[in-house]
Amino acid sequence: MKITLRIWRQPAADQPGRYERHGLADVSPDVSLLEALDQLNEQLISAGERPVSFEHDCREGICGSCGFLVNGQAHGPRIATSVCQLYLREFEDGAELTLEPWRAKAFPAIQDLMVDRSALDRLIAAGGYCSTGTGQAPDGNALPVGRDQATSAFSTATCIGCGACVASCRNASASLFVAAKLAHLGQLPQGQPERASRAKAMQDQMVTEGFGSCSSHLECEAACPQEISADWISWMHRERRG
């Protein structure tokens, strides 16, 4: 098939960016979008041009490295799918795809489709853990956790930290990311001792990092490759009051 990629090219954070169009004349519909970018990069290198920078690693949807907007949608059009799992067969022959990086104040630009998401690590550092040290653990069966409770905690713990929720939010809020971590630990007995202080510390850090507030547009839930529910954001707000 044939596709055209309209890609945001920006050499560095302090330099202006612009869109650049590149065509792939004969590409298999069975390659992923990232593999199409690999092909484009091989062509650019052979022609002596700078290849396109984009984040990627596991290419199976679990590491959270990849992520950019495809035609304005975080991770592209397919639901519950990170961009590395997006295959060209999803698009029509001859389609033009606009690829641009996550745009958020808390995610400074690096190059092309790459941004700096270390703010998410600082949110975790602010309190996204149980303060237990190695060797201080009681028997894992000493605190029973019901099956439904464990399943619900797990479903929030699956967040891969890709930043799609931030990128798709008009306020560039990290509410879904923070809510998911608070809900993961807050639903388990191990997370109870620090539940209130964790909720405060992580939400305060969210403000410090320059993330916006939630105004309930729910785009985060729509974009989340792990399908984490935005209901947890209301839950998080109650935690803050509690």
Binding site: A12, S28, D30, V31, S32, L34, E35, A36, N41, E42, I45, S46, G48, E49, P51, E55, H56, D57, C58, R59, E60, C63, G64, S65, R78, T81, Q85, Y87, I110, Q111, R117, L120, D121, I124, A125, A126, G127, G128, Y129, C130, T132, G133, T134, G135, A137, P138, G140, N141, L143, P144, G146, R147, A150, T151, A153, F154, A157, I160, H184, L185
Partner: protein, 638 residues
């Protein structure tokens, strides 16, 4: 260096040997630990758990990660689960059974003392992870759930749906970030470790490239821990993440660290097969699918009909036919080999005839679509996304793919390499998995090394080896930096026109063919000469665009692939020298008339440990393995 260092295997009975060893190790006062720098490379299960624990003990820890965040490390992709012997179940599991399974699973090519220690520690790992908030699957009554895995006869695998590695990694990552917040860990992300620094033969630091600025940095410490994972990416197409590189261990090897059993590489039987020439990786599908899926091929060679058009009597359920008792649950290496043989004989299906069917039709018929969806829903979705086919309607197509590498830097019982002060943890070392790893044991080993073993043994080494601080202006640091700088300049100055990936693909094709599922002397020799020729061509014809400064993904790749050439040659040499079939290492010349592996305990009951020599062939040392608790027996799955 001459020969092999003392592996420091504890004397006496192996049960409780670790406890005895630990009690005899020297300690350091908590106050003094605050003045000691420790360098940890890698933030997967082994690295993150070790760094968090060493920081908790009071050391000044610096952590280097290749990624933008520690949470990206490839441990995150492990699906199945983590083994632990907790004698709470009623199916008769025990430490001694896990020990036996590990040693047997590795086909008697691991140290029994290490396997025993791993089994003893395993239960505490689960407790540790639960305390961190890892949401393991639970029974309705609230206790921890388990499942059976990979041919084990007991149920000892703890899991968090199909994302156990992710959840365990996040537990370790969060523990690490807590120490960062407490100011005890300095976390440096986006650093590629390109050289080891040794002073008077002792590991004292590394040279790293900052992946955004391109600056070369010197990081020094009293001890260095390499926790950098495996090297399956030598095969280009593997289940590993694309950035999983082996540079840190390979550069350490070139600096004197012995490399043990590099040819022990595991091929996973159930992966989504290759479709297009530009495919960049192979995705693993949890082996648990084999519990309900039946594996088959058309009886006729070259049968191109679609699966549903092939009547039952024209299908060959070859694993069930060959292994009536284990059937589709035959061990990984056996299942992989049979699939490859049949595909090579022209019986394979799909593009290039390089896959076999994994068919859930019967299970869907008996149990219903919903039951199967509940069990494998996420895998079914993943398969559909990648292949474009609906696995509920059509059998999946699978093929074996390089997955885990049992080989790695040689370490003694205390996880120290042959370079004093250099510790190696997790998949990066050669330890308990022998010639073949059991399913759900990789996570267990990574965390045992990081949480429980290294914190004691690193302390013991530091207690006995006081040394003055090394500063970046030390001649050893400057030399390591300059040689790295020259290497980068040469790479950028190579006047060729071919992108790195093209060479990597070629290397992978040679390696999977000559040193993959099965090996023979002729193929290995041929592979060796092909890799040598390819390496020469690479240095003449590669184009690495851009500059040393700033982000340069092609330069990162070029450095990685240039290391893979050396590693590939060592794998081939090792496979050639090991004239036996054991575990995942299958030599065509060494099999029974029925096609079963023939191990040679008289000549090869040892760990091969390779010593690098500049400009000459490496030297093969061997560490003889002693078995006291369990005598080697022959594996049979017929």
């Amino acid at each position: 260096m001459s020969g092999l260092p003392d592996p420091r295997i504890p004397a006496g009975p192996i049960a409780d040997a670790w406890q005895r060893t630990k009690e005899g190790l020297p300690l350091i006062s908590p106050l003094r630990k605050g003045q000691i720098d420790v360098l940890v490379v890698g933030t997967g299960l082994a690295g993150a758990s070790a760094a968090a624990t060493l920081a908790q003990q009071g050391y000044r820890v610096t952590v280097l990660s290749f990624h933008d965040s520690p949470r990206r490390a490839h441990s995150v992709a492990a699906q199945g689960g983590i083994n632990a012997a907790r004698s709470v179940a009623v199916d008769g599991d025990s430490v001694s059974r896990l020990f036996t399974d590990t040693l047997k699973g590795g086909d008697f090519r691991a140290r029994e003392s290490g396997c025993q220690r791993l089994a003893e520690i395993s239960s505490g790992i689960i407790d540790q992870c639960v305390a961190q908030g890892v949401p393991f699957a639970r029974e309705y009554g609230g206790s921890l759930a388990t499942r059976s895995f990979g041919g084990a006869l007991v149920s000892r695998t703890f899991y968090a749906r199909g994302q156990t590695g992710q959840q365990l990694l996040y537990g370790a990552y969060q523990a690490l970030m807590r120490q960062v917040e407490l100011g005890r860990v300095r976390l440096l992300t986006r650093r590629d470790v390109l050289e080891l620094i040794t002073v008077d033969g002792v590991a004292r630091g590394v040279v790293a490239r900052h992946l955004l600025s391109g600056a070369l940095e010197i990081h020094t410490a009293r001890t260095v821990l390499l926790c950098t994972g495996g090297y399956s990416n030598v095969y280009f197409l593997s289940t590993n993440a694309l950035k999983s590189n082996a540079s840190a261990i390979w550069r350490a090897h070139r600096k004197g660290a012995l490399f043990a059993n590099p040819c022990f590489t595991q091929i996973h039987p159930t992966c989504i097969p290759s479709g297009d020439a530009f495919q960049s990786k192979l995705t693993l599908m949890s082996e648990s699918l084999r519990n309900d899926g039946r594996i088959w091929l058309p009886l006729e060679t070259g049968d191109q009909r679609s699966a549903e058009d092939i009547p039952e009597q024209e299908r060959d359920y070859f694993l069930e036919r060959l292994y009536p008792s284990y059937g589709n649950m035959a061990p990984r290496d056996v299942a992989s080999r049979r699939a490859r043989e049949l595909c090579n004989a022209g019986r394979g299906v799909g593009p290039g005839g390089l896959s076999v069917f994994l068919d859930l039709t019967d299970a869907i018929k008996t149990e219903g679509r919903e039951a199967i969806a509940a069990r494998y829903g996420n895998l079914m979705k993943m398969y559909e996304r990648i292949s474009g086919d609906d696995p509920y309607r059509k059998p999946m197509r699978i093929y074996p793919a390089p997955h885990y590498t049992m080989g790695g830097l040689w370490v003694d019982y205390q996880l120290m390499s042959s370079i004093p002060g250099l510790f190696v943890l997790g998949e990066a070392n050669y330890s308990e998995h022998g010639a073949n790893r059991l399913g759900a044991s990789a996570l267990m080993q990574g965390l045992a090394d990081g949480y429980f073993i290294a914190p004691s043994t690193v302390t013991a080494w530091l207690a006995g080896n006081a040394a003055p601080d090394v500063t970046p202006d030390h001649s050893a640091c400057r030399e390591a930096l300059e040689s790295t700088l020259r290497r980068i300049e040469t790479m950028l100055g190579s006047g060729g026109t071919t992108p790195v990936d093209s060479f990597h693909r070629e290397l992978g094709a040679v390696m999977i063919d000559s040193c993959g599922i099965s090996r023979d002397a002729e193929g290995l020799r041929d592979g060796l000469s092909q890799v040598e020729a390819l390496e020469k061509r690479f240095h003449g014809e590669v184009r690495v665009p851009g500059e040393a400064a700033g982000p340069n993904a092609e330069l990162e790749k070029a450095l990685r692939v240039s290391d893979f050439f050396g590693l590939a040659q060592l794998m081939l040499r090792d496979a050639l020298a090991r004239e036996e079939s054991c575990g995942a290492h299958f030599r065509e010349e060494h099999q029974s008339p029925e096609g079963e592996a023939r191990r040679d305990d008289v000549n090869f009951a040892h760990i091969a440990a390779w010593e690098h020599q500049d400009g000459a062939e490496p030297i093969r040392h061997s560490e003889t393995l002693q078995f006291t608790a369990l005598q080697p027996s022959t594996r049979s799955y017929r």
